[in-house]
Amino acid sequence: MTMKENNKTRIVWREYQKEIADNNYYYARSCIRQNFFPGSEEAFIKIVRDVLGRDIFDDPHQTTCSGIAYHCGVLPFDTTMTVIARQFALMYEAGYQNFIPSCVTSFGIYTEMVETWEHFPDIFKKAKKLLKASTGRDFEMPQNLVHTSDIIYKFKDEIAAKSKLKLTHKDTGKPLKVVEHIGCHYAKIFPHHGVGGAEFPQVLAGMVKTWGGEVIDYPERRHCCGFGFRNYVIKEDRSYPLSNTKLKFESMESYKPDFIVTNCPGCTYFLDRWQYVIAETEGKTYGENGYGIPVLTYEEMAGLVLGYDPWDLGMQLHQVSVEPLLDKLGISYNPAEKYLGHNGESIGEPRKPEILKV
């Protein structure tokens, strides 16, 4: 390939847009996010319904996609394939055709199954047979399959038009510096299914830029957060995710990010929690004045831009404090309300880490 052609390819990828349905979504929930970032699961529905005025269906019958167990190497391909087929069956039964999972691992798995069925019609037939035999249900492939971050990306201008603040420093007016981290399974498996492909993903960068921030390009930008599936689930192997996430912190540190935003529930978790572990075990912190670098989901970022209260968004469930970011953005918040329960119930506060400032 000549240099010129190579550049052309790069431009094509940089400008690559995929088809994202405009309305009527079947919301497939993420296990990790419901458990670890429940506020974001709710914020997504609120933004889509109340801010964007779109229809979104939340089905009580859906379950896990089984993807974590699949990628950990304990579930047979056929099992996960049939669980996925059941989710698609539920979508059709509910009268929907646009499937939007909020988990990046799920998105990768749903895409993998659809691609497999398209290339191997016999396996599609087998999936139909297995689903029928186990549940009596029938299914078809969705017409549109995108990740929930694609939806927010699609409507980023509409959100900007309704925004209450920009991603800029309240005193200087300068854009905040943002590390965007894309979950590997968003586009590395099937680049055509990600906005901008695998090497130049625009899904988060597009939101950040539209809402006034500046994206940092640092050496390990495309490196995995290190989840590693079984390497995390098995306690003895947990140094694998820790080491890989640390590699990213060391690489981004000199660029002084104001915050990190990710589109994958697992990545958000690891980038948040390993900062706590590194602080407590090595005494090293990556943010300013002994704090960590705040790590946000894209709904939290969108929610702040739209003027939502940070504690209604569930940002008190992060181990790395988000207050340094809220202060830079000039968001007023009540620290006394951070750890209140339902209806202002007083439920105490988490113990403070020894080194990481919170």
């Binding site: 296990c31 399974h185 290190g226 181990q319 439920i347 988490p350």
Partner: protein
């Protein structure tokens, strides 16, 4: 004559999709997060299966190597031959469990822990991970905020608009028994239940 291991691997669609003649360029290894921190080389896995040699493939199935991969699939994007070492590893892991060879390696034997956490969670809760099961003892990296959240889960989740342990839709809702039964039936029909039972049996025999 019974099938060779290579023939059995060929029946796995991930193996079929993930393997073209490798040119040994090492790009997969250069990008691999597992190779950064383990004595692990995805290129060598591809090279080894392509020897077609039964004893070499058996060595992979009985060894620790195939369990190091983190399944990030960064190798899929970057291989100039459109190979996916991560898919080949998935096929090898499946065969290692089906043949029982996983019992020969320390990392293979660890898989019972995965089965007993994320595997069992699916059938018990309908979630692959579940708040009630994630203790600070097993997950110290969760930090003190997790303890506070777990101890006050009902109140915290209600404030955030979730439906923890409730019926109907919503974040953290209970999955109904009917839906759990369907999942179990899928596990029975597709071989997962049999696989799980065998893994438990092997573990008991070992002890």
């Amino acid at each position: 004559m019974s099938e060779t291991l290579y023939e059995r691997l060929k029946q796995d669609v991930r193996f079929e999709e993930g393997l073209n003649a490798c040119i040994n360029c090492g790009i997969c290894t250069a990008n691999c997060p597992a190779a950064r921190f383990y004595d692990y080389d995805p290129r060598m896995i591809v090279v080894t299966v392509q020897t077609l040699k039964e004893e070499e493939i058996e060595g992979l199935l009985k060894g620790d190597t195939i369990w190091y991969c983190g399944e990030c699939l960064s190798c899929k994007t970057r291989c100039p031959r459109e190979n996916t070492p991560g898919y080949i590893v998935q096929a090898l892991r499946s065969l290692s469990i089906d043949t029982g060879y996983y019992k020969y390696s320390k990392k293979g034997r660890q898989q019972i822990k995965v089965k007993r956490t994320v595997g069992d969670n699916i059938l018990k809760h309908g979630y692959c991970m579940y708040l009630d099961e994630i203790t600070l003892e097993e997950h110290p990296e969760q930090g003190p905020v997790w303890d506070w959240y777990r101890n006050n889960a009902h109140s915290v989740l209600k404030r955030l608009g979730a439906n923890y342990k409730g019926n109907g839709a919503g974040t953290m809702r209970d999955i109904s028994q009917n839906d759990l039964d369907e999942l179990r039936q899928i596990f029975v029909e597709t071989g997962a239940e049999e696989r799980f039972e065998k893994m438990e049996e092997y573990d008991h025999e070992r002890k």
